[in-house]
């Protein structure tokens, strides 16, 4: 444990989060975008756990648990939507799915 400060974990989480943001904003495939969202959720999980460890209160693990559950629910619904979109448009390229345009 010597040498690994809280800051290391937090920086790692920040890095993962930024990579996830990058992926969400740059990738064209909707599924990959989803995966990057999961990446971001994991980064926030890591932050939660690091702080819990630092404070010595394991109640901080519960939000992480809930995040995992919510991520599961979200993934299922999101993938169902991707399937429905693929059925009606034939593509999952986000550039081609622009129904909200004015």
């Amino acid at each position: 444990m010597q040498g690994i400060s809280l800051q290391h974990y937090l920086v790692l989480a920040a890095l993962l989060f930024s990579l996830g943001v990058f992926g969400v904003l740059v990738r064209r495939n909707a599924l990959v975008v989803f995966m990057c969202v999961e990446l971001m959720l994991n980064a926030s999980n890591l932050t939660f756990l690091a702080f819990a460890r630092d404070a010595g209160m394991d109640v901080g693990h519960l939000p992480a648990l809930f995040v995992i559950a919510v991520a599961a629910a979200e993934a299922s619904i999101g993938l169902a939507i991707v399937i429905a979109v693929f059925r009606s448009r034939g593509t999952v390229n986000v550039d081609d799915i622009r129904t909200m345009r004015l």
């Binding site: 994991n42 756990l49 010595g56």
Partner: protein
Amino acid sequence: MTILFYLFAIVTVVAAAGVITARSAIYSAMSLVLTFFCLAGIYVLLLAHTIAVLQVLVYAGAIMVLFLFVIMLLSLGEPAGPGKVTFGRVVGGLSALGLFAALVIATKPFVSLGGEPPPRFGTLQSIGVQLYTQWLAPFEAVSLLLLVAMVGAVVVAKSRV
């Protein structure tokens, strides 16, 4: 410990980079699985044993399997060509970079890693006790959420009969 941390950290980062840069969706999914595994290891280093196990079981085991199912079902695994470099994408990339910088700056005051954790820190017993007593309501809410998600997924994805 330090070595383990750096090992897991580097692999995590490389795998995450692989997620966002892979040409094919399947490669992204596999990289993500690797990321999850390494993250689970880091969770163990943080003495969050329960969460680490749940990460492997749920995330890497269920969610990624679901992803791979969809990818295979819709045959989305073909490698796609290079993407268009639009103004929005450039801004997105730059903002991600800025976000990283900001977050790193924000972590500056957090230096130490606290003292010895209490016994049974992060064990299933400890988590369970809190989950079923103090945090029962959110627990039930999450289960309701999962029920809704299941129903919703069925409704959205089923084809017209």
